[in-house]
């Protein structure tokens, strides 16, 4: 009996310890998530009128909204443009820095430094590279007698320019995970391969790369999340333009909510982002953590 009551007390105590986190998570994570889902089913009430329930009408509007499709396609291209390249570069950087290299510490620092800059600061610097007449890129191209494009003003080039900057910002971050994984690979594997005369190329593809698979998946998940979550640089570089050529989903949410003041439509687009994140989360918990136990 005494045992029971002490268990009971432990439960109450534990619940109290959880309370602050529960209140905050409830207020700023769960409540807004549910409110977003509900709001996507309403149209805003005008001049103080109650919002009007319209069922899935916002979603029908979304499907007919050509800008939404442009933005969704941009985000897909943005993900395809940034993720494989930054992962490949990160792996390359890690292999470089993991080998015996003169000035290794400096090289590693050079690769990693962009990671700790705010996206806004990075965008400021790149803004000047990309500026049409006075910008550094076009200045250097001009010296070679080439007329450079308007990097951020030409709809055909702008998204590519944003992608290049993002790769520069991300690759060094992913590198450190590859570096840690490489250092955990036992060196006798390479010695054995050396003895058998395996070429470094085939050693990489047949031993190193497969061993790095968990890291690659982990980095992939992070890169996917960042592709929908980070839009800070757009505020400086392009504001989603020209003509929505670089607009991404979360930026489109921001525009709808805080420039066009259409909160329910913004909620509807947010639901699309939440769906993407749900897919990513499922991949992570189902595939990546199959062997990880949260007990």
């Amino acid at each position: 009996m005494a045992r029971l009551t002490s268990d009971r007390r432990m439960q109450v105590y534990g619940a109290l310890l959880l309370l602050p986190a529960a209140v905050l998570l409830g207020t700023f994570a769960y409540l807004p998530t549910v409110a977003t889902l509900i709001n996507s089913l309403f149209l805003p009430g005008f001049r103080g009128a109650a919002p009007e329930f319209v069922g899935l009408e916002n979603y029908a509007l979304l499907l007919e909204d050509r800008t939404f499709w442009t933005v969704a396609r941009n985000n897909l291209f943005y993900a395809l443009g940034t993720i494989p390249t930054s992962i490949a570069l990160a792996l390359g950087m890690a292999l470089f820095v993991n080998a015996r290299l003169p000035g290794r510490g400096l090289v590693r620092m050079a690769y990693f430094t962009p990671t700790i800059l705010p996206m806004i600061a990075a965008a400021n610097i790149w803004m000047f590279f990309y500026a049409p007449q006075i910008g550094l890129f076009n200045h250097l191209l001009g010296a070679l007698g080439i007329e450079g494009p308007n990097w951020l003003g030409d709809p055909g080039v702008a998204l590519g320019a944003v992608i290049v900057m993002t790769i520069w910002k991300e690759a060094g971050f992913f590198m450190i995970f590859y570096l840690a994984a490489l250092q955990s690979i036992p060196p006798d594997l390479e010695e054995a391969a050396d003895l058998e005369g395996t070429s470094r190329w085939s050693f990489f593809w047949r031993v190193t790369f497969p061993l790095l698979m968990p890291t690659t998946l982990f980095v992939l998940i992070n890169a996917l999340i960042n592709a929908v979550r980070v839009v800070d640089h757009l505020f400086i570089l392009t504001k989603g333009g020209p003509n929505n050529a670089t607009n991404l989903l979360l930026y489109y949410v921001y525009e709808n909510a805080f420039s066009f003041f259409d909160r329910t439509y913004a909620a509807t687009i947010t639901v699309v982002i939440l769906l993407v994140l749900a897919v990513v989360a499922t991949i992570k918990f189902r595939v990546l953590d199959r062997r990880t136990h949260y007990q």
Binding site: F28, P32, F96, L274
Partner: protein, 282 residues
């Protein structure tokens, strides 16, 4: 191409020495990667006419920094960012310690389900929910306050997860020993668990500091005056193309905003990298 035997001999003698080609590639990539930052330094410390003229003897100047400092209230932005970052990290430590401890050591009914619920926040970030979070913040009177910027991040699933994992690795015997000495749960937490989790706090603290020093979207949405704006938002407004501020001044302002974190990083590189790694499980 060298003959296979020569290559084999060379590779055996210098076990992991890189061929020159790879060293060159590694260094070239490093130069490309650090160039934008070096360029920002160049632009910030030289008069505007040297933006694209790279002359070794170009005159150095601090005018760009004084211009930036005078044209925008960077001193105030510094104070705001400092308050924001220390406030968030302190509050996160408290809230996540309590929750992590509860998840690690207390028999709460439905604990696993609750923990999965917490982990959802690893994917649903406050900045994804800007629309509704703004409404909630304004309902609570938190718009345009530093607390309003920070509160949505305080109950961090990531912090709870990290601390729970760390607390779980601490042997129960230490706890029993403290109990024999008459310690209650709070004393056990503060005297046994927290000191042993120091590396986790360091790692989590560094990651959190860099994240919130650099965070932009939510602070942009929830602030609308100089009194609460952090550096990133101040910098974003200052350097918006339509303001027509010149590039040299913008470069100086950019360096001003990143300087403290950059210096901290250069001094404590190893700790930073280790922290990001440790935090990697996210």
């Amino acid at each position: 191409m060298t003959t296979p035997t020569a290559a084999a001999v060379a590779s055996r003698r210098f076990a992991i020495r890189l061929p020159g080609l790879e060293t060159t590639a590694a260094w070239l990539l490093a130069i490309v990667w650090i160039f934008p930052l070096l360029y920002a330094f160049w632009a910030a410390f030289h008069p505007a006419e040297f933006m694209v003229r790279f002359e070794l003897l170009a005159p150095l100047t601090l005018d760009n920094f004084t211009d930036a400092w005078e044209q925008a209230p960077f001193a105030r932005y510094y104070v705001n960012t400092f308050l924001l970052v220390t406030g968030i990290v302190a509050a996160q430590f408290v809230v996540c310690t309590l929750a992590g401890f509860a998840f690690a050591r207390f028999p709460i009914p439905g604990k696993d389900a609750l923990f999965m619920l917490v982990l959802i926040q690893l994917f649903v970030f406050p900045e994804v929910l800007i629309v509704e979070n703004y409404r909630i913040a304004s309902g609570l009177g938190l718009v345009d306050t530093i607390a309003g910027i920070g509160l949505p991040y305080v109950a961090s699933a990531f912090g709870i997860f990290l601390l729970r994992q760390t607390f779980k690795t601490i042997p129960r015997e230490l706890e029993e020993a403290a109990r024999v000495e008459g310690c209650g749960w709070m004393a056990i937490l503060l005297k046994v668990y927290v000191p042993l989790a120091k590396p986790t706090y360091l790692a989590y603290g560094l990651v959190s500091i860099s994240h919130h020093w650099n965070n932009f979207l939510w602070p942009l949405v929830v602030t609308n005056s100089v009194e609460s704006r952090p550096l990133t938002v101040g910098l974003g407004i200052f350097s918006a193309p339509e303001t027509g501020v010149n590039w040299a001044t913008i470069s100086a302002a950019t360096l001003l905003s990143i300087a403290p974190l950059l210096v901290a990083f250069l001094l404590f590189q190893r700790q930073f990298v280790q922290s990001f790694l440790r935090a990697g499980i996210r």
